[in-house]
Structures are given as structure tokens and as C-alpha cells.
Amino acid sequence: MTQIVKPYGDTQNDGKVQLSFALPVKPDAQGKEAARMLILSMGFDEAEITCMRDLGEGFTHFIAYAATSASVDVSKIKVRVVETPVMDMEATDLYVQEHLGREITVVGACIESDAHTVGIDAIMNMKGYNHRFGLERYQCFNAVNMGAQVPSEELLAKARELNADVILVSQVVTQKNIHIQNLTRLIELAEAEGLRDKMLFICGGPRISHELAIELGYDAGFGTGTYSTDVASYIAITLSKKQAE
């Protein structure tokens, strides 16, 4: 069933959107009109510049409200999401015992130039995050966290050495799409070394979605607000299914 939606301010389908941006124009009537025309040229109606602030160096900041005529049919939107159910630690341990019957080795790292370990630590380290213990605490996992700024080569070498089942990669810095470069490089190296199909490749970080992960050739991706339980359940169930096949 089609379900066409538009932004909502205070009346169904009024299309109201707030915008804010800088333009290299003067803070005068012409600059303001330029900002308004720009908004109109993006296809908005009823563009109202509510604030114009001089930023210096020839720039001006505009805050605006406008009504978009764009809409989107929600029923047409298919997003790939991690579909395995989420179990708590005890349930996961039990599940692995029953379905896989062996320990799972997981190797994790922030790769390349990235030193933001808080995210992957939240998933892997004993103490975990927000009242969920990390993978180290699970009975079913042998979790090795290599920490910050680990070259892709070293991560793969360690995974090969430990005969890992899963690789966890974190990427937090995204400026100039450096995370895409780094994640792509890792997968290419893994393919070249024949490791890609031997283990699950999972990436995570605040700008990672499952959708993006799959596009980049990973098995799964996890973004903001992920808990160890999400990742643990996904690994447990996916590996068990693979083994069953």
C-alpha cells in the first residue's frame, strides 16, 4: 500500500523544513534575496529567511523555513537491516553451545589512522556499555581487541594466526570519506589473501549502516547505539546457520 509522506510543521503535508547554511554573499538585501532564490531553486516554496548573520570574510549565515513539495513513498523503501533477533548474553552463550558447539574467535580493531577505540571497546571489552557486557565476558567468545590504529595487514595477519571466525572493524573518522577508503582497502586485502570467505567481516561506527556495509562487501554493519548484544546475537546465529548449511 503506498504511503506518501511529506514533512510536517503544524498542518498535515505542509512540507515545512528548517534550513541553515552559509553563502559567500554580503549580509544585505541582495544577499538575502540570493539565499531565498537558492532555496526556491532547490524546489522549495514559501521560502522565508528568518535570520541573516554576518560571518565575516565575505560570508553570511542564513536561517530559513520553507515548504517542500517533495514527498516520498515509504512503502517503496526497502532497507537492508540486520534481521537476526537480539538475545541477551546468557541466551547467546546457550545458543552457541546448542547450535555451534564450539568457541567463536573474534578479532577486532580500529584500523589505519583511526584511534577512536571507545566504540569498539563498548562492543568487545569486558565492561561493555550501558549495562551490557562486552564480548570478552561471553563464554562463547574468544575476543581479541587489537586497539587503535592497527594497519589492515596486521589485523588480517592476527586473524589468520588465530584462525578467527569473525573480524570486527571500527571506523569513526569519516572526513573526506576516509572510512570508505580504509574499509575498502581491508576487504580488498582480505580477498587477495583468500581470507574474505573464511570469516565474517563486520564493521561499525557512527556513520556506518548495514546498507553501507553490504555495499562495501562486508557481511554486516552497525551504527550509533549498537550494543554488544546486537553484534553477539548476529554472529552466533549467522555462524550457526552457516555451519548447518
Binding site: 510543521g9 503544524d10 498542518t11 515545512k16 528568518t50 535570520c51 536561517i63 523555513y65
Partner: protein, 518 residues
């Protein structure tokens, strides 16, 4: 705890002056009535509905009685006589009048005592209903726990009651404690209350009894869902002050904008009309356990918040003394105050802290209604959001009763769904962050804050004493309030005020006075 060292002598002088001012109006309260008071009586007798072109039946009847020169006895007695004579309900009488099938003043007059008895039973019935609503509210608070302090109060103002409802329910779920349905522009000046559910308003939604009902029902549902009683408020203000108070009492509104002088000063409504109407309106609010909210914020949207800070204090004291006359309890006096200081001013926060503490400490039992920055809100939503945060900070630190949340789009449009949600997020964050900060702090000896509060109090006292001496109507005519001149016989609605006949009878006022111990 931040505690001002207020000059107690000033406090008593100021209260004495305010009491003197309000006591000067007994001639008005006891000797006059108004068209809206009489319409209120009709509504309380159960008359509702409107003509095809939207004229409410209470207006129709009161207009007829007025043209017939019969209104000075009060509307009640005429309807009671018709009910008795025709053996009809009040509503049936009204409908007959509407269809021209009945001429109220043409019927033979029954024995007064018969009519008084009939009216007594009608009045007990309706006042019983109102008491039941009051009890219901108290039960809800009992069941769900008391309201937070400051309570989170947000407005809805889409113009369409059904959109308002969506926005109100969303706000309640996010943490709002009280929803105010803002009224369409200038409803104040309508000498009737529109009828039915309304879909178009400008800058707000018409206050109608049906709209009250729709909103109350929707909020009762959410209250149950979230386990928190969501208060509802509207405006018992303007030319229909007591009628709206009565509608609110019947539909279980919990608070009402209801200022003794707002209509005079800010809507150019006749002074006598306003004071008289508020007297009865407040009595209804007091009886129904409705918290009144006064409009001191209005002084500061037109004048400077520092220079004219004393006008807020003076108005609070006057509102208090008029409220006492109508039987309103201190715990139900939501006196107003507003954070309207120019953000460019050095120490704007420090000044405001002095003013907010002064209000809090002068009226320790009052659930003060604290209003956000509006005048200096600009189209810069980020800046306005910060000003609102400072306002929320002071509200929590000084323990105000009700925090009317500021919206970051204040200078732009009536609030969008998102704006209100961000305003609630703002308040919740700040309230939590500074929760017990006040317990850690004291004022330094001879602090600027203390000196400032006392100097505002002093100005207010001197102002009130001057008004007490001159007389309030004279002072108003001379422009003493809000820098606006309002002559006693100027303004809208004077022709709706009339002197009571010795036989005048208002069963509701009598019974409420008795029950309120007035």
C-alpha cells in the same frame, strides 16, 4: 538555598496598598452585573447551542432581555419563570425563544420563592457537576502523583483543534505537564463564545466548549497511558471572561489565564466591565479548583524588563488581592512573571535571578507562572534556544510553579511539532542538570541580587501607594499602568455593564459565595 533578605516593612506596606485598591470596588461587585455574567448564568443553567449563523443561544436570550429592559433583574429569574410556566428545561426554553415561540418577559411572573427553589435545585445540580470534575482532577493527581515543579507547560496554536490535539498528545508523551491551547487572535474582543469544534484560527484556535471537550478527552487518554495527569488550560479573559471560566469548570480545564486587568490595559476593554467580570469569573475558578494564571508578562513585552520590573510586582500584588476577594486560594494563584531581559544586557541572567527570586519569595505558596523570553527572541533559532535554556535554568533554580516553555521559533511562527519537542528536551535537560544546585548556593552578604530585589519592591510599593491614594480608575486614566491611558468610561464593552435591580438574582453567585465562605 538562595534566599532574599526582603524589607518586611515594604512587603506589608505593598500588600496593604493593594488591599486598599481592591476593596474600593465593592460598589461595583455588589451593585452591577454584565451581559457576559448573565450569559454565564444561562450556561450554568444548562443552556447551550447557537443559531444557524453562529450566535450562541445565551447571547440571543440576554440580548432580548436587554432590549426588553429586563436584564437588570438577572437572566436567571426569567428563564426559571418560563421553565416553571411551560414545564420545560432551560434548554427547551431557550430553543423556544430561538424559534420565536416564547417571549420571556411576556409570561406571567410566578411566586418568587417558587422560582428561587427551582433555581436552587438547578444551581445545586450544575455546581455538583463542577464539584465532581474538581474531585475527578484531585483523584487523578492522587493516582498519578503531584505535578512537577516547575511544571512543563507548552502551547499549541495551529488554529485547528484536531491538529492541536495531535501536537498536544505528542507533547504530553514527551513530558509536558500542562497544555495551553492558544486562542485565535483577538477572541478577547468577541462578545460571544463561538460554538462547536473549529478548524480555522489565526495564531491560535478558538476557545469553544466543544474544543475544550475534545482536548480534555484526548489528554485524559494520554494521562492514563503515561501515568501522569496532563493539565489543560485556556483563556478566561476578554469580553467573555466568566462564560469561559464556566465552560472550563464544566469541561475540567485545570488552569485558566485570568488576569484582573489584562483586558483593560492590553485589549482596551472597559475597566468596569473587566473588573466586574473577573470578580465572577474568578469565583467560578475558585469554586472549580481551577488555578488562575495572570498576565504580568504583558507589561514586559511592551516596556523594558528592568526599568519596569516593578510593574510586574505591583500587578502581582493587585492580582493577588482581587483573587482573594473572589475566594481563590494562594495555592491556586498562578501569578505571572517573565524572563524578558535584553540578552545583550550585561548580567541579564543576574538581574533576572533577582526578579525571579522576588516573585517566588513574595508569593511562597503561589504556583508562579513563569514566562519565557519572547520580545528578544529573533529569527535566530539557535540563539533563542539558548535564551530559553537560561530561562529554564532560573525556573528550576528558583522553583517556579509553572514553566511556560519558550520555543526557538518564537519570532517566526506558532510552534511546529518539532519546535515544541525541542523545547521540552531543553527544559528536561536543564531541569535535570541543575536539579539540586540551589541547595548548594547562598547569596553573598549585600549582594547585587538582594539590593536589586529590594529596590524593585520599593518601586512597586511606592507605585501601589500612589494608586491607592488616587484611586485605581483615576490612575489608569492617567496612564499609570503600562504607560497606556484607559479612562473609566472608555474601551469596549461598557454597554454590557448594568446596575442591578434590587430584585436582581444570581443563584450561582450566591451559592458559590456561601460555599467559598465569602
Amino acid at each position: 538555598m538562595l534566599k532574599l533578605d526582603l524589607d518586611t516593612n515594604l512587603v506589608s506596606r505593598a500588600r496593604a496598598a493593594a488591599t486598599k485598591i481592591s476593596s474600593d470596588f465593592d460598589w461595583l461587585f455588589d451593585g452591577y452585573s454584565s451581559v457576559t455574567i448573565e450569559r454565564t448564568v444561562l450556561r450554568l443553567m444548562g443552556i447551550d447551542g447557537a443559531t444557524e449563523d453562529g450566535k450562541p443561544l445565551p447571547n440571543l436570550i440576554v440580548d432580548q432581555l436587554q432590549s426588553a429592559g429586563a436584564l437588570s433583574k438577572g437572566a436567571a429569574i426569567w428563564i426559571a419563570n418560563a421553565m416553571h410556566h411551560e414545564s420545560l428545561s432551560a434548554q427547551q426554553v431557550a430553543e423556544k425563544v430561538l424559534h420565536g415561540e416564547l417571549q420571556l418577559t411576556a409570561l406571567p411572573m410566578a411566586e418568587p420563592q417558587t422560582l428561587y427553589d427551582l433555581l436552587a435545585s438547578l444551581s445545586s445540580e450544575m455546581l455538583g457537576k463542577i464539584k465532581a470534575q474538581k474531585a475527578q482532577r484531585e483523584d487523578f493527581y492522587q493516582k498519578y502523583g503531584p505535578r512537577r515543579e516547575p511544571a512543563i507547560y507548552v502551547i499549541v496554536a495551529t488554529g485547528n483543534i484536531y491538529e492541536d490535539l495531535i501536537q498536544a498528545r505528542a507533547a504530553a508523551r514527551e513530558g509536558a505537564d500542562i497544555i495551553a491551547v492558544i486562542r485565535s487572535t483577538a477572541q478577547s474582543l468577541l462578545d460571544y463564545v463561538p460554538y462547536g469544534a473549529t478548524l480555522v484560527g489565526f495564531g491560535g484556535t478558538y476557545a469553544t466548549q466543544e474544543n475544550f471537550r475534545i482536548m480534555r478527552k484526548g489528554l485524559d487518554e494520554v494521562s492514563e497511558e503515561v501515568g501522569r495527569y496532563i493539565g489543560l488550560t485556556n483563556y478566561a479573559s476578554g469580553l467573555c471572561m466568566p462564560e469561559i471560566a464556566a465552560m472550563g469548570a464544566i469541561e475540567r480545564l485545570d488552569l485558566m489565564l485570568n488576569d484582573a486587568m489584562y483586558g483593560i490595559l492590553f485589549r482596551d476593554i472597559n475597566p468596569k466591565r473587566t473588573l466586574l467580570d473577573q470578580y465572577f469569573a474568578r469565583m467560578i475558578n475558585a469554586f472549580a479548583g481551577i488555578e488562575i494564571q495572570t498576565g504580568e508578562d504583558n507589561y514586559l513585552t511592551t516596556s523594558d524588563a528592568i526599568d519596569k520590573a516593578y510593574t510586574v510586582t505591583a500587578s502581582q500584588l493587585l492580582n493577588e488581592s482581587f483573587a482573594i476577594k473572589s475566594g481563590v486560594k494562594p495555592q491556586k494563584m498562578g501569578l505571572g512573571h517573565a524572563y524578558e531581559i535584553d540578552p545583550e544586557k550585561e548580567n541579564s541572567f543576574t538581574y533576572e535571578l533577582a526578579h525571579a527570586l522576588l516573585t517566588r519569595q513574595l508569593f511562597p505558596e503561589a504556583p508562579v507562572k513563569y514566562m519565557p523570553p519572547t520580545k528578544f527572541a529573533s529569527g535566530n533559532i539557535y540563539k533563542t534556544h539558548l535564551m530559553d535554556a537560561m530561562f529554564n535554568f532560573v525556573g528550576q533554580l528558583t522553583g517556579q510553579g509553572v514553566q511556560l516553555l519558550g520555543m526557538m521559533t518564537e519570532a517566526i511562527h506558532t510552534p511546529h511539532l518539532v519546535d515544541r519537542s525541542l523545547a521540552i528536551e531543553n527544559a528536561q535537560y536543564i531541569f535535570r542538570a541543575v536539579k539540586d544546585l540551589g541547595d548548594n548556593l547562598e547569596l553573598s552578604p549585600d549582594s547585587f541580587i538582594n539590593r536589586r530585589a529590594n529596590s524593585v519592591l520599593k518601586e512597586a510599593t511606592e507605585f501601589l501607594e500612589k494608586v491607592a491614594e488616587e484611586g485605581m480608575f483615576a490612575a489608569m486614566a492617567a496612564g499609570a499602568f503600562a504607560e497606556i491611558k484607559r479612562p473609566e468610561n472608555g474601551g469596549k464593552g461598557l454597554d454590557g455593564v448594568f446596575e442591578r435591580d434590587p430584585e436582581y438574582y444570581n443563584p450561582f453567585m450566591d451559592q458559590m459565595k456561601k460555599e467559598l465562605g465569602l
